[in-house]
């Protein structure tokens, strides 16, 4: 890998995001347009200024339209422009901006719009019926697995190997749902949630309980990426994408290390090397790891090399990962607090890094002065990770 020879630095100069909720009436295109327009407006750009458009959306099976990228095209502003859809399941939220980044970093395009959309309410009776088809049709599907079971096994393995207490994991759900109170798009904010609420919530597939999970949602998010050549024409506070990385583990989920996500660490090392980060714990100020389940925030922090295996739970218990703590984690409220319309988590991960680093996060602004943040997403059959390092200069 040659991570040095990048032609152009790439900055985020605008972000937009719709409310995350069950939005039966709006079409995916309408939600995509709403988010894309917000991002363009913040950047002070019009669609005519955009050279190329990247669409991120998870499997077609959610919206129920094959070749969903083409279908969403006009809402994403891609008509009559170079356009591509990328998707790596849940990892799309951070992978779509990586695709946008290489369009600009290569020197080919100066201004690129990245739009992510997900409408999970279309699929009936539940999004799980679409997830039911991601398994091996011969070995797994006859046993009728669903994602929650599988994550429960992973969570259980993580707790066993690193001696992590469930009570510490559940604190992540409490933190994120409280953090989301300041987010205008939040579906799951709860200012009064307590640890007991999580511990006493309905068992789904133990050890996973209802409040440990982010439920399906509908929404869209967008960002505007520009080249270093024009960044300061659009804003005084560009936020730079200084490192990107991605990596995928084996297809056979049973063959992976379920306690430590090695593929996250590989993706993170790639992004850190590109960003010139040698000691991530010292050089990164805050993080937006992917948190569809509370234990995933902890596991991902460890995969991102921001904690030793098992240590993230202790950091959480000690309050270090609170928004006003020494290392804020998911100040947005995360997927657990804001919601989880798969690819549209772009707004929670990359969007939040942008708003925090540009000082535009409003009531969610972390107390300490932040210059460097890392965002990460996770997907496909729980095996892929995408990582982005962003900086204010």
């Amino acid at each position: 890998m040659n991570l040095k020879k990048i032609r152009k630095d790439v900055a985020v100069v605008g972000a937009g995001m719709t409310v995350f909720a069950r939005r039966l009436q709006e079409t995916g295109k309408e939600m995509a347009w709403e988010a894309a327009k917000m991002a363009l407006d913040e950047a002070g750009l019009t669609l005519q200024d955009i050279d190329a458009v990247i669409m991120g959306s998870a499997p077609d099976a959610f919206d129920g339209v094959h070749k969903k990228g083409d279908w969403l095209l006009d809402g994403a502003g891609g008509t009559n422009k170079p356009y591509m859809r990328v998707f790596i399941g849940g990892g799309t939220a951070v992978f779509a901006p990586i695709a946008g980044w290489w369009h600009v970093a290569s020197g080919m395009f100066q201004r690129v719009l990245v739009v992510c959309e997900e409408k999970m309410s279309s699929v009936q009776p539940h999004a799980q019926s679409a997830f039911g088809h991601i398994w091996d049709p011969i070995l797994d599907r006859p046993l009728k697995p669903n994602l929650v079971w599988i994550f429960s096994m992973e969570m259980q393995r993580y707790m066993y190997k690193y001696n992590v207490r469930y009570e510490d994991i559940a604190l992540v759900a409490v933190k994120n749902k409280r953090n989301a109170v300041g987010h205008p798009c939040a579906q799951l904010a709860d200012p009064n949630i307590t640890l007991e609420d999580v511990l006493n919530s309905e068992p789904m597939a133990l050890p996973v309980r209802r409040l440990d999970i982010s439920p399906p949602s509908d929404g869209a998010a967008a960002i505007v990426l520009v080249s270093e050549d024009v960044a300061y024409e659009h804003t005084d506070t560009p936020v730079w994408i200084d490192g990107v990385g991605w990596c995928i583990d084996t297809t056979m989920w049973t063959n992976r290390d379920l306690a430590f996500p090695k593929f996250v660490a590989r993706a993170a090392k790639m992004a850190y090397e590109m960003a010139g980060i040698k000691d991530p714990r010292k050089e990164i100020d805050f993080a937006e790891p992917y948190d569809p389940f509370d234990y995933k925030e902890l596991q991902h922090l460890e995969g991102l090399l921001l904690a030793e295996p098992g240590e993230a739970a202790i950091m959480t218990r000690e309050g270090k990962t609170q928004r006003d703590g020494e290392f804020p984690v998911c100040p947005s409220g995360g997927l657990l607090g804001v919601g989880n319309p798969i690819a549209a988590a772009l707004g929670i991960k990359i969007g939040e890094l942008y708003w925090q680093l540009a000082g535009k996060a409003g009531p969610r602004q972390v107390k300490k002065d932040v210059r460097t943040g890392v965002a990460q997403a996770w997907g496909d059959l729980m095996q892929v990770s995408s990582v982005v390092v962003m900086r204010r200069r």
């Binding site: 079409t27 295109k29 894309a36 327009k37 919206d63 309410s121 279309s122 009936q124």
Partner: protein
């Protein structure tokens, strides 16, 4: 012979599908206006973009060219002209259509996006580009694209 095994029963196999039980497809904010106007008023409405001087039928909440929000709806009337057409002799399952069915893109005005629909009350050999046609609506309507039965030639 490319296939070593010709009968699927000769190998162990599993029958499956890869769809959900079903989907809810909504018409969206603009689509809702279109179908309610069609059902309740028997009108075909469009949305106009003043910047691009382009009318979308059915309406949209945005212009895909300039991204302007479209709030101006107008009644397009029921008359238009054929932009393109085909006469289908087989259905998608390969069954012969007797008589053949005619489909057309119909534009309801200048600088207006055409609507896909069926043609009726016309012999296939009489159909041509530019033919003036008129929508025939069902008397009892449900708010579906099939509330328009077909377009027929203007006498």
């Amino acid at each position: 012979m490319l296939e070593r095994i010709e009968k699927s029963s000769e190998i162990r196999h599993w029958i499956g599908d890869m769809e959900a039980d079903h989907y809810y497809y909504s018409a969206g904010i603009a689509g809702e206006k279109f179908f309610v106007a069609l059902r309740d008023e028997g009108k075909i409405v469009g949305a106009h973009c003043a910047t691009c001087n382009l009318t979308y039928v059915p309406p949209r909440i945005y212009c895909e060219r300039c991204f302007a929000e479209l709030t101006e709806h107008k009644d397009m009337g029921k008359r238009g002209c054929v932009v393109a057409f085909t006469v289908a002799h087989y259905d998608k399952a390969g069954q012969r259509l007797d008589p053949p069915e005619s489909f057309a893109l119909i534009s309801l005005g200048p600088r207006t996006t055409p609507l896909l629909h069926k043609l009726g009350e016309i012999a296939p050999e009489k159909i041509c580009v530019g033919l003036e046609v008129e929508a025939v609506l069902k008397p009892q309507r449900e708010g579906k694209i099939t509330d328009i039965l077909y377009f027929k030639p203007v006498k």
